[in-house]
């Protein structure tokens, strides 16, 4: 199992009360499989991804990456960054490309963060960009790219370390239907080729249906 979450719960303080955003979330994902999570805006989808990627700590419950329990222990905390760099790839709605770096450098920075340096990495980055149809724009800066192109670069960046799991937070949210479709197709194809598990948060029913499993987040709980 690539990812397993058990009994996850998260609440946020609001004025005098606490708002319970997620309650008793259980999910698991096998290698090479994909899972989509749908839900209304503000229902806690992004919070769930943050818990799964350990950018936020859950109030209760456990997250396991490849049977390795990610908790707040010192040993785990000290290695969390390294584990995240190798295990996870992230794709966001707003792409978050670094404007000072060109397309190739944006992909390579993720590799460098995982401690991977060298010609092989460059070759892999070029290959990924080529697969994404961005082979001829590797020296472009993000400011000169369209939304669809930026998201392709973001996907290549997420794939560069051959992660076991990709968390995609509404990757087509800023794109039109046709471009969004192309990007989703690329994302699913890449995950399939690399045998990478995918957790996709989306509003789009069609894209959600393209994944192996679809869950719905409502009132803090996951439903089929």
């Amino acid at each position: 199992m690539v990812l397993r979450a058990e009994g996850l719960a998260k609440s946020f303080p609001f004025e005098d009360k606490r708002i319970h955003v997620l309650e008793d979330i259980n999910l698991s994902l096998e290698s090479g499989k994909s899972l989509s999570i749908r839900g209304d805006s503000g229902c806690g989808k992004t919070t769930l991804l943050n818990l799964l990627s350990r950018l936020e700590s859950a109030d209760r419950g456990t997250v396991k990456w490849q049977d390795f329990e990610m908790n707040a222990s010192k040993q785990c905390a000290s290695k969390e960054g390294v584990l995240r760099a190798h295990f996870l790839g992230v794709v966001y709605q707003a792409y978050y490309l670094i404007p000072e770096l060109n397309v190739l450098e944006n992909v390579l920075i993720a590799a460098k963060l995982s401690g991977a340096y060298g010609k092989e990495v460059s070759d892999r980055a070029r290959e990924l960009l080529s697969n994404m149809g961005m082979g001829n724009k590797e020296r472009q800066i993000p400011g000169k790219l369209s939304g669809g192109e930026r998201q392709r670069v973001a996907i290549a960046r997420a794939m560069i370390n051959s992660p076991k799991l990709i968390l995609a937070d509404e990757p087509t949210g800023n794109l039109d239907e046709r471009t969004g479709g192309e990007v989703m197709e690329l994302l699913l194809e890449s995950c399939d080729e690399e045998k990478t598990a995918l957790v996709l948060v989306t509003h789009n029913q069609k894209f959600a249906e393209a994944t192996d499993e679809t869950l719905f987040l409502k009132e803090g709980k996951l439903q089929n």
Binding site: L55, Q66, H86, Y92, Y96, P99, L101, Y117
Partner: protein, 555 residues
């Protein structure tokens, strides 16, 4: 173990690290954020680097110039006072034993006895009471650089059809009836040494390639008169003058210095065309001034109803001592002249001495040498090295240097504040990127380190550029200072400024020439790097405090 296994599992298609892209991502990203891809120049980075560079440049240039001034003053003082002074507790009449003892010290290269006091000079209605010193002309030049103080062509004459060719006097000119006076005394009394002009229009040798007749020596005993040189053939000429009883025949192979006092020593310099019979050169000599000298010892004689006429002396030369601390109104005469004036035959007031190069350079060596001399000479003698005698002056210079540093350090701090503010703004602009870097596996510390590195890079580039600017300034200092002084003070002001701050002859050292200069360069470069890096700490700390999930949500 579990973590290691997990990492190995994740990195099964792992990458060989020994390839070209070896720069750590923090340094790579810091560099790229300062100098982004596809941009020739980053405005912020350029301003920050230039700001630091200018600060470093100013600090280095000022301190290097201060060191140059110190070096110049040091040389001037040693030229005017030797490496040290040996003073008897009481005036000494028997001192030859001590002189021998001093000379026998292995570090001593030259010793010169001296006698000093105050004399009253009178020329007509004008008076001067200069600091007066009697020196030994034979050893004087080896301890004090008297010849270098004597001025060339002082009170130079500007005749319409003649040329002032007065030679620079030397210490050899000094006789018991001849003195050198400082330019201040010469101005006050209106006196000058003898001078000589060569007429242009009467020289028959005007055709091209003809040689010239110069004057090698013009002693203070010459009288005002016209002098003529007529060539007999290509190797002989006759000197004639109204003040000469007979004409003098000179052969070009004769030693020109073998000439009686009162007669100018002429030197014929052949040109491309040899001299020929009838070549004629005409000169006019103006005799040197005389003035009367009174000494305090004369008062005692007058009290005893003795008739004491003032002593008349000739002006042999005019000197200027570059060391500002030396008396501006001064007179140099022979020891015997001063002893006579003091009415104290054989008396000396001490010795000036010079040591070997190694001793002079190292103050601790010189101090040790002085100690040895003192113990050798026994009670009754004090040995003072030059740096102790002028400690007040060097303390003043050091104080000025520290004051300069104190004033200039805020320049560096201002640059640091500017960098800190710019980097802080950068952190605020890049909140989501910071969140992303953590989401991609960067530790918060590493992300903060990126901003710290940016400060370091700015400091490093600023320091390199600043040092380069400083080297350029040092290389072209004459041109730059001339330009600046000309702009501020105009052409006339330039002369005045250079009297006090002689940038043109100032010896300053490049870092590869002197450890002190190297130290200055390294100190200010390190200071700039340190301050810039520290300026990056605050934004770095701010970046590490950001929660990645909140950063990614920020708008």
């Amino acid at each position: 173990m579990k973590v290691k296994k997990f990492l190995l599992f994740c990195r099964k298609s792992e990458i060989d690290h020994a390839f070209s892209m070896k720069i750590h991502w923090t340094l790579y990203l810091a560099w790229k954020q300062l100098f982004p891809s596809k941009k020739k120049v980053s405005f912020f980075s350029m301003l920050a680097v230039i700001g630091v560079a200018l600060g470093v440049n100013v600090m280095i240039v000022v301190i290097v110039f201060m060191q140059g001034f110190q070096e110049k003053f040091r040389k001037d003082i040693i030229d005017a006072q030797g490496h040290g002074r040996i003073i008897p507790w009481k005036s000494q009449k028997k001192w030859s034993v001590q002189q021998k003892q001093i000379e026998d010290h292995n570090a001593i290269t030259a010793v010169m006895p001296y006698i000093q006091g105050q004399l009253l000079l009178q020329k007509g209605e004008f008076h001067s009471i200069p600091f007066s010193m009697g020196i030994d002309p034979n050893s004087g030049n080896s301890v004090l650089q008297v010849d270098s103080f004597l001025k060339e062509g002082f009170l130079k004459m500007n005749a319409h059809d003649a040329q002032d060719i007065t030679p620079v006097p030397t210490i050899e000119t000094l006789e018991d009836e001849v003195v050198f006076v400082s330019s201040q005394v010469a101005r006050r009394l209106g006196v000058r040494p003898p001078s000589i002009i060569r007429f242009n229009d009467l020289n028959i040798s005007e055709s091209e390639g003809v040689g010239m007749v110069n004057v090698l020596r013009l002693d203070p005993f010459v009288e005002s008169a016209e002098w003529e040189i007529i060539f007999q053939n290509d190797s002989e000429f006759i000197i004639s003058s109204d003040v000469l009883a007979d004409q003098i025949l000179i052969n070009l192979t004769d030693d020109p210095k073998e000439m009686d006092l009162g007669i100018p020593v002429f030197q014929a310099v052949p040109g491309s065309r040899p001299f020929k019979k009838g070549d004629r050169f005409k000169f006019h000599v103006f005799k040197g001034s005389k003035f009367e000298v009174f000494a305090p010892s004369m008062i005692e004689k007058v009290k005893a109803d003795e008739m004491v006429p003032p002593r008349e002396v000739k002006v042999g030369g005019i000197f200027e001592v570059p060391w500002q601390g030396f008396h501006t109104e001064a007179l140099l005469g022979t020891m015997r002249f001063m002893q006579d004036m003091q009415g104290d035959e054989g008396r000396i007031d001490g010795f000036y001495f010079k040591t070997m190069k190694g001793f002079a350079k190292d103050e601790s060596h010189l101090a040790k040498c002085c100690e040895e001399l003192e113990s050798k000479l026994g009670d009754g003698w004090t040995v003072i090295p030059w740096f102790v005698e002028n400690a007040w002056f060097f303390d003043l210079l050091k104080f000025e240097e520290y004051l300069m540093i104190l004033i200039m350090v805020p320049i560096g701090l201002v640059a640091a504040f500017a960098i800190a503010i710019a980097l802080m703004t950068s952190v605020l602009r890049k909140i989501r990127e910071i969140g992303l870097l953590v989401a991609m596996g960067g530790s918060r510390f590493s992300v903060g380190f990126v901003f710290c590195l940016q400060g370091f890079i700015i400091g490093l580039l600023g320091a390199i550029l600043g040092c380069s600017f400083a080297l350029l300034f040092m290389r072209f200092r004459d041109e730059l200072m001339g330009f600046i002084v000309k702009i501020i003070a105009g052409e006339d002001g330039q002369v005045g400024v250079s009297q006090f701050y002689d940038f043109y002859s100032l010896q300053i050292y490049y870092p590869w020439e002197s450890p002190e200069s190297l130290n200055t360069f390294l100190s200010f470069a390190c200071f700039a790097i340190l301050v810039s890096t520290l300026a990056g700490l605050l934004p770095a700390w701010r970046a590490t405090r950001l929660k990645p999930a909140d950063s990614l949500r920020s708008e």
